[in-house]
Amino acid sequence: MNLLHFLWQNHDQVLELTLEHLWLVGISTLLAVLVGIPLGIVSARWPAWNKPVLGTANIIQTIPSLALFGFLLPVPWLGDRADRLAILALTLYALLPVIRNTYTGIRGVDPAVVEAGRGMGLTDRQLLLQVELPLAFSVILSGVRVAVVVSVGLATIAAAIGAGGLGEFIFRGLAMVNNQLILAGAIPAAVLALSADFGLGWLEKRSRPR
């Protein structure tokens, strides 16, 4: 009850931090999709690219997030503003699920369908845009869903470098040993993650090919 009271009293700030949080997650997911889907397509089409691309994305995933923020801090331009840095780091983490699912989705298209398409005289581009991507769409979307859910959680850590977001409450609460403050950050973040998961999951189910 105290928590609800706190949220209500500070709703301006809660709203502001939530929007900040959404912005960090939204932009980084968008970038990860813009970079990750083409990389996934490339590694599905040319197997030689598969290992280096997925391997690199995998390695990035293993770097602890705080360490990654730290690594990027001295980089010129990036280090100037904390949110740039946070967005880059979140993008890097979101890449793996997007690349992997694009790759898996395209590879998972029935070989007979691809062969028939090729045999009919579809160009590589037509095959990709009209057949492979539409059929891989739901798998790609489930990768994006994983990326978003992970990003919502990770973005709380971005507050450690001053990038804002709901992590502000959490870090402030940790510093002040105030559970209410911690929860004021953690609960909205959890709600964001759950609704993103639910919403994208619904879209994914709807887009699944019959």
């Binding site: 029935d110 007979a112 369908v113 691809v114 062969e115 028939a116 398409g117 090729r118 045999g119 009919m120 005289g121 579809l122 160009t123 037509q126 009209q130 057949v131 539409p134 059929l135 090919p209 019959r210």
Partner: protein, 266 residues
Amino acid sequence: MLGEQNMEPTLANGPVIEFRDVAYVLPSRQSLLSGLNLQVQRGETLILLGRSGSGKTTTLKLINRLLTPSGGEVRVNGSSTTQSDVIRLRRSIGYVIQDVGLFPHYTVERNIGLVPRIEGWTAERIHLRVVELLQTVGLDATIASRYPHQLSGGQRQRVGVARALAADPAILLMDEPFGALDALTRDQLQREFLSLQQRLNKTVVFVTHDLREALRLGSRIALMDAGRLITVLSPQDFLRSKDPLAAAYVKAFGDGLESVANRGAS
């Protein structure tokens, strides 16, 4: 016309498809096909018969350049496949495979109309063509709005044939198109294929391992084994052949073949 038995090229303008000393070798150096010389004449149904791994599907895929020959050349309508525009080449050749490969996210109508659409036909012309083709392959026009997963195996294969015929190609390549169907449906589709072929008079190359099907549908049968062409015979000659492999086939399929042979070659 269909059942002509002479082995010489007909006059017309030479063979429609010609293999000249063709070899195909995998990147792993395994040879799938070697020394293949074969001519397919206009309007005939040439059967590629052989067991799995004999090179018949490889031979078929060399025609529409899903595979590129490692040696020799494949000529379609007089020009080498490696020198023609591969997309144009494929669009001028209908291709039907055992697993059909209908696009699951497209309706029957869109499946059949895909190549015409890419070729820039008007929506109305495509629609008329789809209706015409559905009739040609013996399907009800109401099926046009259905999705592939709502069709039976036989219906799916008919749609596959209709799709291959969409842009009216002169050549049709069929890779065990009836192999996955139950006996009754297969029999029906074979019968329809024969009557269709009499009307449309396409140049057909048809892969099968079923001698009965080969005898029934083929004007000539090319027997393949271990990547080599053993012999090319008319159905009647095949039954009388002294070639050990041909004789083994005839023996394996047992009696009653005489009545099957070239029933459709009238």
